[in-house]
């Protein structure tokens, strides 16, 4: 079918109080094409999406939707013009039903005697909408809170599709912001199928992701952003990870992406031993040994029990069976605080929710795990906090205005570094990294890998739950594979003889 341009924007520029976030961006999207949008965090991807959705006006430049000038006053307005967005952080209201979520804000359609709403009718409609995105099995009457992430994602898409359908445009534009970050591989496959289906119907999709492989797999064309500028677009056929990476970061990717050459051999001393550990409904019969300075990777799909295993190890959950041993003595952690006393701390998965304290300063964020050591008597010197903060800021090269800067003003990567700084400042002996590079841009990723190597070199043992399989394998000395709550395999991953991803993967599926 002929590909007409349905959306285009001409030199869009956005200034935030003097700082230029977007610099004259041009973009054309034809009907029935999937466009990838990649770039490091802070490259301006989300800013552009926000402008398109009408959250904030552009400082200058125009946008056109289906040929006519387009300057949305808000989300709803954008919807009416045929543009919808699936947000990175999920936007379903957990205590409302699926149907109520899908039609949230559009209840007028189901008006009943004046102000009432006909929920039955709404559920019917919702069932149809869900069926269209191939999730007919989802019960519209179910509370969104009771669904798992993957299903919610589908509901999200259904919701967006439904809202753009209000515009009588024959082709829609759907923006997907990091849609895969919470999904496992099967779910991702399912998602991609849906996206392809939309494409065949002649709609257009903008796909934003940190995972280059996904972008390459799914898209037709890729726009690359860097520091708020468009640094070019490439036909996906002609592109490969290396070139994209180069465009994004401005330097060529290298084999040492994972700093494998820096990998050290672990000591023999066993710092943590787990015997037949179990948590009802999550995992069973988990046993392993963690050596001094070892990087111990745990692979497994979502639901394999690896997450729960972590929260037991840091004392956030109590095991229902089995024992944890540390240098010969058994441990029963009553709380993360208790675990920290024994030198175990975590870099949690949900950074904004359980990692950083947004409205506090960088300095405060770094010291809070280590207060008892840096205070003199009951006095806590601000100067000391400042020093410690500054040390970490330049050791991890955290980009910020100073130790007093609030963490909420930092980009994802830098915020993550702050969390690392806190963990290390706590002088822990065992560090549990739960998706340490989630939502972190390529540049920062590399720095974090280097950091992890340094940590292990210092003799700190690390448990890694990788964001991707290859990352996990590459980082670890030993890889434990979990499936449905059981350990299915423990393989060594020495420096120059890493196990093959495919082999590892087959123990996961």
């Amino acid at each position: 079918m002929e590909h007409t341009t349905i959306f285009s924007c001409k030199n869009i520029t956005k200034d935030f109080s003097g700082m230029r976030a977007l610099d004259s961006i041009d973009m054309d999207i034809k009907s029935g094409e999937i466009v990838g949008l990649i770039g490091e965090n802070g490259a301006g991807k989300s800013t552009l999406l926000k402008i398109i959705m009408g959250f904030q006006p552009a400082t200058s430049g125009e946008m056109y939707m289906n040929g006519e000038r387009f300057s949305p006053a808000g989300t709803r307005d954008a919807n009416y013009k045929g543009i919808g967005m699936v947000y990175q952080e999920q936007s379903l209201i957990t205590n409302l039903t699926v149907a109520q979520n899908i039609y949230f804000g559009f209840e007028k359609k189901f008006r009943q005697f004046g102000i009432g709403v006909n929920w039955k009718e709404m559920n019917e409609q919702a069932r149809r909408v869900l069926a269209e995105v191939g999730s007919g099995e989802i019960a519209p009457g179910k509370k969104a809170g009771e669904l798992n992430f993957a299903t919610r994602q589908m509901v999200e898409i259904a919701k967006v599709l439904n809202s753009v359908r209000l515009s009588n445009a024959d082709h829609y534009l759907i923006l997907l912001d990091e849609p895969t970050s919470l999904l496992n591989d099967n779910e991702i496959k399912l998602l991609f199928k849906q996206v392809q289906k939309l494409k065949e119907e002649g709609h257009s999709i903008v796909f934003v992701s940190h995972r280059l492989d996904e972008v390459l797999e799914l898209t037709d064309r890729i726009y690359v952003f860097k520091d708020g500028k468009g640094v070019g677009q490439v036909e996906t056929k002609k592109a490969d990870e290396a070139t994209l990476y180069e465009m994004m970061v401005g330097r060529s990717t290298s084999g040492e992406y994972f700093k494998i050459e820096k990998q050290k051999e672990p000591g023999d001393e066993i710092v943590l031993e787990v015997k037949d550990l179990a948590l009802k409904g999550a995992f069973k019969e988990v046993s392993f040994q963690l050596h001094k300075g070892e990087a111990f990777g745990i692979c497994g799909v979502v639901g394999s029990g690896k997450e729960e295993l972590c929260s037991v190890l840091i004392g956030d959950d109590k095991p229902t069976a089995g024992t944890i041993w540390q240098n010969g003595s058994q441990r029963k952690f009553s709380s993360p605080a208790d675990a920290l006393k024994h030198g175990i701390i975590t870099v949690p998965k949900e950074r904004r929710v359980e990692g950083i304290v947004e409205i506090r300063s960088i300095g405060d964020n770094i010291i809070i795990s280590n207060l008892d050591e840096i205070r003199q008597g009951c006095y806590l010197s601000p100067g000391k906090i400042k020093d410690i903060g500054e040390q970490w800021i330049d050791r991890l090269s955290i980009k910020c205005t100073g130790v007093d800067a609030l963490v909420q003003s930092l980009s994802g990567g830098n915020a993550q570094k702050v969390v690392f700084a806190r963990a290390l400042q706590s002088s822990c002996r065992i560090l549990i990294l739960n998706h340490p590079t989630r939502g972190v841009d390529v540049g920062a990723k590399e720095e974090i890998y280097t950091l992890i190597r340094e940590i292990t070199a210092q003799g700190i043992s690390v448990i890694v739950l990788g964001d991707t399989l290859d990352e996990c394998i590459a980082l670890s000395n030993t890889v434990m594979v979990m499936k449905d709550g059981f350990v299915t395999k423990i393989v060594d991953a020495p420096k120059y003889n890493k196990p093959d991803q495919v082999k590892v993967a087959q123990f996961m599926m």
Binding site: S91, T94, W119, G281, G485, F486
Partner: protein
């Protein structure tokens, strides 16, 4: 692979069993308030047989809860939204004083009758709107704004009669209390009408859903382009209406228009809402819960007098019961954050 897959079923089963268990526990906990209510009735009944008489359980308690029920219906929505309303006593008192001066009364020669009632309700709604506007536009916490609004309303109320309360002579209003339908004064029936309106608003309208959404996570409705401020203002308007009606009922009961009409309503109202199972953080609960809460509070007060619990101990007993309800009716997961 074979064996692991076999065992994996057991894990899956375990998981399902766990979730099932939790769901069951949740259901049981949902029932705690109503169980407590029944328990109270039985206990008081066994202490004083007069308590279990129809005249007490039906005409007496239902009549006594009417005003509390109306105020709670208003406050429930604010709390569902995650806010709080402290203006109850002032607003109700004011409405009571205000209506007295509009209908036939001993202080002035006004005689608007039913119109007076309507004006009062509209005026209360207006104050509610004012509160909502200040809350949303000036971005002041509902706590502080309703706290002050309470003072102002109270002042206005006193100002209307400067110490000499007007006796209400209007038959229409007085009959709300004197005239009985099926053994209950009209105002009790009004209270139940208000309850069903509230129920309708909660269950059957988009407004109700928005209130829950705001209570759950305000950012999302904003993102979905819902006019959150409008909803918030409407909630306070509704609250104003409820307080207005409550005030009129109080005036009808007392026969004079004085600020006392609102006295000692704030904490019982909040207690009723919370004990019913509506969470202070918003997003959970509803008007049905509140109805049960109101019943618990009223039965307690009535029952303790019936059972002759010493005056000074009554409050304490009430407090302990409140705490124990909440302790029993809460799921306590380790990771849950409670403020």
């Amino acid at each position: 692979m074979q064996n692991s897959s076999k065992e994996s079923i057991t894990i899956a089963e375990e998981f399902i069993r766990e979730t099932k268990k939790q769901e069951q526990r949740a259901i049981i906990m949902k029932l705690v308030p109503i169980v407590l209510l029944i328990a109270l009735i039985i206990i008081f009944g066994s202490i004083t047989p007069q308590f279990l008489t129809v005249s007490n359980l039906y005409s007496n308690i239902l009549e006594q809860l009417s005003i509390l029920l109306v105020t709670s219906m208003g406050t429930t929505f604010v709390i569902l939204m995650g806010g709080i309303d402290l203006s109850t006593e002032g607003m109700v008192g004011f409405a009571g004083c205000f209506v007295g001066l509009l209908v036939q009364n001993s202080a002035n020669d006004m005689n608007l009758g039913i119109l007076g009632i309507i004006i009062t309700i509209l005026f209360s709604a207006l104050i509610g709107a004012g509160i909502g506007l200040i809350h949303t536009k000036l971005r002041l916490p509902s706590f502080i704004i309703t706290f002050s609004a309470g003072y102002i309303a109270q002042g206005l109320g006193v100002l209307t009669y400067k110490g000499i309360p007007a006796a209400i002579l209007d038959e229409g209003i007085r009959n709300l209390y004197f005239h009985k339908i099926a053994g209950l004064p009209v105002l009790t029936w009004i209270a139940f009408v208000v309850f069903f309106i509230a129920l309708f608003l909660e269950k059957k309208t988009a407004f109700g859903r928005y209130v829950f959404a705001i209570g759950d996570n305000e950012k999302i409705p904003v993102m979905s382009g819902v006019n959150v401020n409008k909803v918030k203002i409407l909630v306070f308007v509704w609250t104003g209406i409820c307080f207005g009606i409550a005030g009129i009922m109080g005036a009808a009961k007392l026969g004079t228009s004085q600020i006392y009409i609102g006295q000692d309503l704030l904490f019982p109202t909040l207690t009723a809402v919370v004990v019913g199972g509506t969470s202070m953080s918003g997003g959970q609960g509803g008007v049905v819960n509140t109805l049960i809460g109101v019943l618990i509070v009223t039965v307690l007060q009535n029952g303790m007098v019936m059972a002759g619990v010493p005056n000074e101990l009554q409050k304490g007993v009430q407090g302990l019961i409140i705490i124990s309800v909440i302790v029993l009716s809460r799921r306590r997961s380790r990771k849950q954050i409670v403020k």
